[in-house]
């Protein structure tokens, strides 16, 4: 299991590097808040440990669940709000940017 996890971790990091590097600076803030929402994925870890938590430890897992869900919902929602504001002119076809000469 550990090797599988390690391979997934490395593969995700390498693929992520390729995809993330190509995001233009224009969208770096939404990218970051979106990635921020993804770091709330720890909510699934919280769910797993909540199920098996020993007596008296459930409170810690519950706190983790709440914090991680704030992270997830807040992160995706601010990203949604931001990206809705990015408006371009409605154009029929892709018009190429002509640099000034």
């Amino acid at each position: 299991m550990f090797y599988a996890m390690f391979i997934v971790l490395i593969a995700a990091a390498l693929l992520g590097y390729r995809v993330i590097s190509a995001v233009p600076p224009l969208l770096h803030t939404p990218l970051m808040s979106g990635m921020n929402a993804l770091s709330g994925i720890t909510v699934i870890g919280a769910l797993a440990v909540y199920a098996t938590a020993p007596a008296g430890a459930g409170g810690w897992a519950a706190a983790a669940l709440i914090l991680a869900m704030i992270n997830v919902a807040g992160g995706f929602w601010v990203t949604e709000r931001m990206l809705r504001m990015f408006k371009g002119k409605k154009r029929e076809s892709e018009v190429q940017e002509i640099p000034w000469q």
Binding site: I20, G34, M35, T42, A73, W100
Partner: protein, 497 residues
């Protein structure tokens, strides 16, 4: 087992596809939604896989957290996005720390003991560090506390000792002793909290984009390592994605600010040791002024600049009145009317002055007269990567007009007019001209190549780097000191008349 791996791979591919869609502003919204959908699947799958029915009490906490998150996400303003992201980073880091904390409390020696204690300790330490560091960053950005960088006695030493001791405790636990010395875990968390606190405490304003990117990365790393500890494929894969994204942005920010990450973390504040580059002070007077077309405007600027050269302090008192009296109406209006290609350079000062709408109206007025307007966006304009683009988009400016540094720099030479609003270091030619300053070699916007420049900054004090702006003294420049929310509308009025 096999189905777990397949499902994990699908979820991570979903996230990757979402990021792929974020490469274009046309599809980015759907990219974010795809990410949210994949997250929903991951949570649902975990509910099913861990055998908790929908009636489990866990769902109550999930719903509470979700609602709080939506309220937070709905209520924040775009200008406050850096502290929002920092706060959410902190929550993510804390959640990862709490996950391993709970796992440690319930650990009975199953799996590979050494790996468990190693990864659990690391996730706990990094998660705690992310939490305390983010909270300090939020307080700083929101202006609630620690606004100025604070350097304690022996700051660096305490920080290094905290990290070293934490690492030592993790290694001791890893040496198959974790079962006996699990009591070390609270100390690891405490040391992580101390390290995050110290690390962020001495960071100054314009270095914030670097720290936020770094904390973003840490929240991902904490999740990835926590994933290894609790043996969760999706968690470790997704955490790795976030960690990499944060590192990429950290590197971009460091390059754009001409700072090394270590120098930032060591609390080296450029403004603290001001090395003014050799400015040709003598040159400023008559040559410079005659370059500014109109006689009236010219003369007035002479006096103003002479005052500048005399004593900087004096300007502060008389400055306000001087701006009012000496607004070079004629030359400005001539410039604005005659220009056909205009580039606007916004900096964080524009956001501080809340002048986005004024800039939007100026843009509309210029375009109404058939002029072309573009925006030059420096990577560190704002308090987090890409922040300026969001603020301008909020003001309703089309994203097609927002150009990054590489795209816009060759176009300055063809611009008739550049209007700088609240930006200083990012247009300072000293970055290219002078050696040995904090900004030497930093990539800047080549505004100085334009035929005419109007600068609407609050005052002539140097920017964050503490380096005097050579641009202020150049012949093609007209400076309008004062609140951009007031000076910009006056420019707009001149165009409309």
């Amino acid at each position: 087992m096999a189905i777990t791996i397949v499902f994990a791979a699908l979820i991570i591919i979903g996230f990757l596809a979402g990021i792929r869609l974020m490469q274009s502003p046309r599809t980015a919204l759907w990219g974010n939604r795809l990410g949210a959908l994949a997250m929903l699947f991951a949570i649902t799958w975990t509910f099913i896989a861990t055998g908790q029915g929908s009636f489990s009490s866990a769902i109550i906490y999930v719903v509470i957290g979700g609602i709080l998150g939506l309220i937070l996400g709905q209520s924040v303003r775009m200008i406050h996005m850096p502290q929002t992201v920092a706060l959410l980073n902190g929550f993510g880091g804390a959640a990862s720390a709490l996950v391993v904390w709970t796992a440690v409390l319930g650990y009975g020696g199953e799996g590979t003991i050494m790996l468990f204690w190693g990864t659990a300790g690391l996730a706990l330490g990094v998660g705690s560090l992310t939490f305390s560091g983010s909270i300090i960053a939020v307080l700083k950005l929101q202006g609630l506390a620690f606004r100025i960088p604070i350097q304690l006695k022996g700051h660096g030493h305490i920080l290094r000792v905290a990290i070293l001791v934490a690492a030592l405790l993790i290694i001791i636990n890893m040496s198959f002793l974790g079962l006996y010395f699990g009591q070390f875990m609270p100390f690891i968390a405490l040391l992580g909290l101390i390290a995050g606190f110290l690390m962020t405490l001495r960071i100054g304003g314009a270095d914030m984009p670097i720290v936020i990117s770094l904390l973003n990365s840490f929240s991902g790393i904490a999740a990835a390592v926590a994933g290894l500890a609790v043996e969760n494929l999706i968690l470790s894969g997704t955490g790795a994605l976030v960690g990499v994204a944060g590192l990429i942005l950290t590197r971009i920010m460091c390059r754009a600010m001409n700072r090394s990450l270590l120098a930032v973390l060591a609390g080296f504040i450029p403004g603290a040791q001001v090395k003014t580059p050799p400015v040709q002070e003598e040159r400023l007077s008559f040559d410079a002024v005659t370059g500014i077309s109109s006689k009236e405007g010219g003369e007035e600027l002479t006096t103003e600049e002479a005052v500048t050269a005399e004593a900087e302090k004096a300007v502060e008192d008389t400055g306000q009145a001087a701006v009012e009296d000496k607004f070079p109406e004629e030359s400005l209006s001539e410039l604005l009317q005659n220009a056909t290609r205009v580039i606007i350079v916004p900096g964080y000062g524009m956001a501080v002055a809340q002048a986005q709408m004024a800039v939007r109206q100026l843009t509309d007025a210029l375009e109404g007269k058939g002029k072309e307007v573009k925006f030059a966006i420096h990577p560190v304009a704002g308090r987090m990567p890409g922040h300026m683009n969001v603020l301008l988009a909020e003001a309703g400016i089309d994203y097609e007009k927002l150009m990054d540094i590489d795209a816009i720099n060759p176009q300055f030479a063809h611009a008739d007019l550049v209007i700088i609003v609240g930006a200083c270091d990012v247009v300072n030619p000293a970055a290219n001209a002078a050696d040995g300053t904090p900004i030497s070699g930093m990539p800047i916007l080549d505004a100085e190549k334009a035929k005419n420049i109007i600068i609407c900054n609050l005052d002539e004090k140097p920017g964050y780097s503490g380096v005097d702006n050579l641009l202020y003294k150049q012949p093609q420049v007209i400076t309008l000191w004062g609140d951009a929310a007031q000076t910009i509308p006056r420019l707009t009025a001149m165009i409309n008349n």
